[in-house]
């Protein structure tokens, strides 16, 4: 009877990807609807975007568009479209499809997750491609426009309600468009027969088994059943790599978002910058990274930037100096403080450990701090409503630090108590930073943007609105026994994590089966 579970026909070779943790799959590939996450890799792999951001090199890669330019006023963005691109049903892709997609987002605000029509005046066709006319200069809009997945007009005009549309059999321009199999616990995608890049993709089949938890996903990885995964693996060198060091590797780039200790400005104690500094001083970051994060990341002392924003950084991150006098200065304020709580989501074990270590460090300052773990919904509600003392949380992503800085210090987002804010949970507003953010939004010139971002960085250092702890690693685990060509720090043609779409589609296009495979 042993080995009974191996009954049945062995499957064809396929690249096995473990990316979302779900107990079963729903057949849904609509890349635009925010109702629910579409199946991987809808955004980028099935439906391509105009351009894709390479987080490892911090640069843009052309996909459906081959280039872009701004006019002098900075209110017109021109994109050159790639020629000879076909949809997976064989019909020709054109600027008309792009126009249609943006029109769809205008008529259905529910699809406009990038908020592009807040700043966009109109879109029109040109000889080479498209022209986006802005209402006023708003440079951060670039991300939203070029990373919009483009859908085919000839199919989607017939869709009655594109927001609720499931899109079970997608027609896209991406490298993988054919749904070969779809069962509740597994689905498979096949290569697009009409893909525009000759000879690409070399992988002919993708397979996605449903792993319901991180434990299950890790178990499958360790057993060698998965080729590419984007989940956290405890003690990865001993549990995973050691079993087959020639083929198994990982790349935990520090390009995720910075993890902060947020200090709520509604608590009087935290209004004093010296107190905030003293708190930052007292946290033993090395121990934090070692114990809470298994040494998978680095410490962050003062800089709000993960490695994903390296090119915007003015001065490299340094340890805080003059800690002793700072702590001395705020000793009285700290001694008389009422008991405080750090909120963290229960089950997010790395952050829970981090919160416990922070609480211990703060106790040395004379503060009475307790860690409180909450269910995600409760935590998220309280944090957004400003109903907390301290909390550990993520920060905003983006191709520039605009969203990040906005979330940290924009006075427009520093709402009153009880008002719900999706960013700037700690409710810190700095007028000077607000002014700089407005200028940054109106600047398209890269050199000028850099100058303003540097000034914002100075503001951050001067005010320390929240305490940086460590950059969240971008989880990427590879097994090159069957397929090779994954990126690494030496060949950073893309970041390695399958979680980052549309970027991960760049990796899918590079992978190739190992020659000697039977």
């Amino acid at each position: 009877m042993l080995g009974c579970h191996d009954l049945g026909r062995a499957p064809e070779n396929a690249l096995v990807v473990s990316v979302e943790q779900q107990s079963s799959w729903v057949r849904r590939f609509n890349p635009l609807s925010p109702m629910a996450t579409p199946r991987w890799p809808s955004k980028g792999g099935i439906y391509e975007t105009l351009m894709t951001f390479n987080s490892a090199k911090e640069s843009w890669v052309g996909v459906l568009a081959t280039g872009f330019s701004w006019d002098e006023s900075g209110t017109v963005l021109r994109l050159v479209l790639r020629k000879q691109v076909k949809w997976s049903d064989g019909s020709l892709f054109s600027a008309d499809d792009v126009l249609f997609t943006f029109e769809l987002m205008r008529t259905h605000p529910g699809l406009d997750t990038g908020g592009v029509w807040k700043h966009l005046e109109s879109v029109s066709m040109t000889d080479a491609g498209l022209e986006f006319q802005f209402k006023a200069v708003h440079a951060p809009l670039f991300d939203g426009i070029v990373q919009t997945p483009i859908v085919p007009k000839h199919i989607w005009t017939k869709v009655e309600d594109p927001v609720r549309y499931a899109d079970e059999s997608p027609v896209g321009t991406g490298p993988f468009t054919q749904v070969l199999r779809f069962d509740p616990m597994i689905y498979e995608l096949g290569a697009n027969p009409h893909y525009w890049e000759p000879g690409i993709p070399k992988v002919k089949r993708l397979r996605f088994p449903a792993y319901s938890s991180n434990d299950q996903a890790t178990l499958a990885l360790v057993r060698g059943e998965v080729d590419w995964a984007g989940n956290f693996v405890p003690a990865i060198d001993t549990t995973y790599v050691r079993k087959d060091p020639d083929h198994r590797r990982y790349w935990f780039a520090r390009t995720g978002t910075m993890v902060f200790l947020y200090l709520n400005q509604l608590v009087d104690l935290f209004k004093d910058v010296d107190v905030r500094r003293a708190i930052s001083c007292s946290i033993d970051r090395e121990r934090l990274v070692d114990i809470a994060m298994f040494g998978y990341t680095r410490s962050a002392f003062q800089s709000p930037y993960s490695d994903g924003f390296a090119k915007w950084e003015k001065s490299p991150d340094q340890k805080i100096t003059g800690c002793e006098s700072l702590v001395q200065k705020s000793r009285d304020a700290l001694k008389n403080a009422k008991p405080l709580e750090i909120l963290v989501v229960s089950g997010w074990s790395d952050w829970v450990r981090a919160a416990q270590l922070v609480a211990r460090d703060l106790a040395a300052l004379g503060l009475d701090v307790k860690v409180r773990t909450l269910e995600f919904g409760t935590w998220f509600g309280r944090v957004q409503n400003g109903d907390f003392d301290m909390s550990i949380g993520w920060s905003a992503e983006g191709s520039t630090p605009y969203q990040l800085m906005r979330g940290l210090m924009d006075p427009k987002l520093a709402l009153a108590a009880g008002e719900k804010s999706v960013q700037n949970w700690h409710r810190y507003g700095d007028e000077e930073a607000g002014r700089l953010l407005e200028i940054l939004a109106r600047t398209v010139d890269e050199k000028k943007s850099l100058e303003i971002v540097h000034q914002l960085e100075d503001r951050f250092y001067a005010t320390l609105p929240s305490i940086p702890l460590f950059p969240n690693p971008s989880w990427a685990v590879f097994n090159e026994s069957n397929y090779t060509g994954f990126p690494d720090p030496k060949t950073p043609y893309a970041g390695g994590s399958p979680n980052a779409l549309p970027e991960a589609a760049l990796v899918l296009k590079r992978l190739a089966p190992v020659e000697s495979q039977p």
């Binding site: 009954l7 990038g114 609720r164």
Partner: protein
Amino acid sequence: MRKKLLNYFLAGWGALTLNFILPRMMPGDPVEATLGRLKGRLTPEIEAAIRSAMGQAEGNIFEQYWNYLSGIVTGDWGVSVVRFPEQVSTLVWNALGWTLLIAGTALILSFVIGTFLGVLCARRPGEGLDRWLPPLLIFIGGFPYFWLAMVSVSYLGYSLDWFPVRHAESVERYFDTTWELVLNRAWHAALPIGTIVVASLGGWLLTMRNALIGELGTSYVQMAFSKGLSERQVIFGYAARNALLPSITNLGMALGYVVAGALLTEIVFSYPGQGLLMLEAIRNQDYPLLQGCFATVTFAVLGSNLLLDLLYVFVDPRTRRGGDES
């Protein structure tokens, strides 16, 4: 009888109402759960788009309640939020099959085996089998079930590689014959069923053993013995039948919880049943799905109790007279 049915109706209505109220008392809402999954990509603009797409809950709370109740009756349980655009009834129905397979089989197996072992132990109390089997099973049953299941996954599934560690069938494989598929599913169900049986055997054994020992001491049994009947005839013909009543009561109770009771099993073994579905619904604050899952549990518990009430009339003649009043 009419009174009894009215009681069931009231209990059902109360449970369904609680089922409507409780999820709404949880902090947050489905929209927020969706927002939370976006993490760093979340900006005020995206929030606006999602709220506009998902809309606010339809109607005020009374309208929602009315729609909910009428939906339960007509079978329209709404659309799941997390599994959008799947119908809740389809999801629940699919999951129910798997749960009944493992939890139902496990219940029947542990009832039959446990009760039979109970009879064997009761024959010679304090000697032979009875000396070591009940303590051993109680000892095993005393472990937290979660731990027992994890150890079996880790040792039997992972280290020895004798059993599959997830799913209800080998999803990667293609099956040409039904026979292959059935065997494969049985193999996947073996460990989940096995762990439940091992953990619950002790309870059944003790119930039967204790009831039977008591029964063997009564005068009618003594009389049967003195009339010269064999031990086998006495135990299976008289004593065991009467001693079975408490076990049957327990079985009826357990039957109702079969639908919900395999929660831990399904989580550890990643088995696609009702328990895993319920967990997902709670995590994502999927009200329609949550209501569907709880309604199923409500119906299962009430239904099995009703069944038990009816069954008692046949098993225990004494209850028949009590029911004559209506």
